[in-house]
């Protein structure tokens, strides 16, 4: 399941969906807004997506992860718009029969999402400036 949303991410609902009798392990990853980056203080982040392509790439990621690992459930949710400090901008939940696969799939999914899904973050700094983040 993949989703782009402007609402806070409801982790309980995602975990309930992933906790199935045929799974023995659930791994959830949350990317949260960190207050300090290289010593600068952030007030909030703002996320923008190329919606149609981001949804397609997320669906591709789910499909590829399901080929690589025996996933019972695979959930990718990215929040868009303003995300306050300490709230989650992204949630990845995978459940598998055995735990090593859940850790491997979860880490591969977030690494690949960060490389290939057209979503951008804008830092709103405490000094009143803001900046799109385009890592090179």
């Amino acid at each position: 399941m993949i989703e782009l949303t402007n609402q806070p991410i409801d982790c309980s609902a995602l975990l309930a969906k992933a906790s199935r009798p045929e799974a023995g392990a659930v791994v959830l990853f949350l990317g949260t807004t960190r207050e300090l980056s290289d010593g600068r203080r952030t007030l909030a982040l703002n996320y923008e997506a190329y919606d149609g392509m981001a949804e397609k790439k997320l669906a591709d990621l789910e499909a590829e992860a399901r080929c690589r690992w025996p996933l019972v459930e695979c959930i990718l949710v990215h929040r868009l718009g303003r995300v306050p400090l300490a709230e989650a901008s992204v949630a990845i939940v995978v459940s598998t029969p055995h735990r090593a696969d859940a850790f491997a799939a979860g880490e591969w999914l977030i690494d690949t999402l960060k490389r290939d899904v057209p979503i951008w973050k804008q830092e709103h700094w405490a000094d009143g400036t803001s900046e799109w983040v385009h890592p090179i």
């Binding site: 149609g52 392509m53 990215h78 490389r115 979503i119 951008w120 799109w132 983040v133 385009h134 890592p135």
Partner: protein, 81 residues
């Protein structure tokens, strides 16, 4: 022909628009689109060296041909997650 290029994040802000139309010859590739975009909006120059292109919601290489129906997007380095 006229093609539309979607712009995002810093590229969108530099251009002051989320989509721009550029004129290119029939049979143009992304190389031609990039040249036309740069001529129309010189400020995107600082984004281009590290950006990727997408055609119809898939990453595409610079030799990819496009037509008037293509959905073309400039993809600056992504920072989701």
């Amino acid at each position: 022909m006229t093609v539309r290029v979607k712009l995002f994040a810093a590229a969108r802000e530099l251009a002051g628009a989320s989509e721009v139309a550029v004129e290119v010859c029939d049979g143009a590739t992304l190389v031609d689109i990039e040249r036309a975009l740069l001529a129309a909006i010189p400020a995107v120059e600082r984004i281009l060296p590290h950006a990727r292109w997408a055609v119809n919601a898939e990453f595409a290489t610079s030799d990819a041909a496009v037509n008037e129906q293509s959905e073309i997007a400039l993809i600056p380095p992504v920072s989701g997650g």
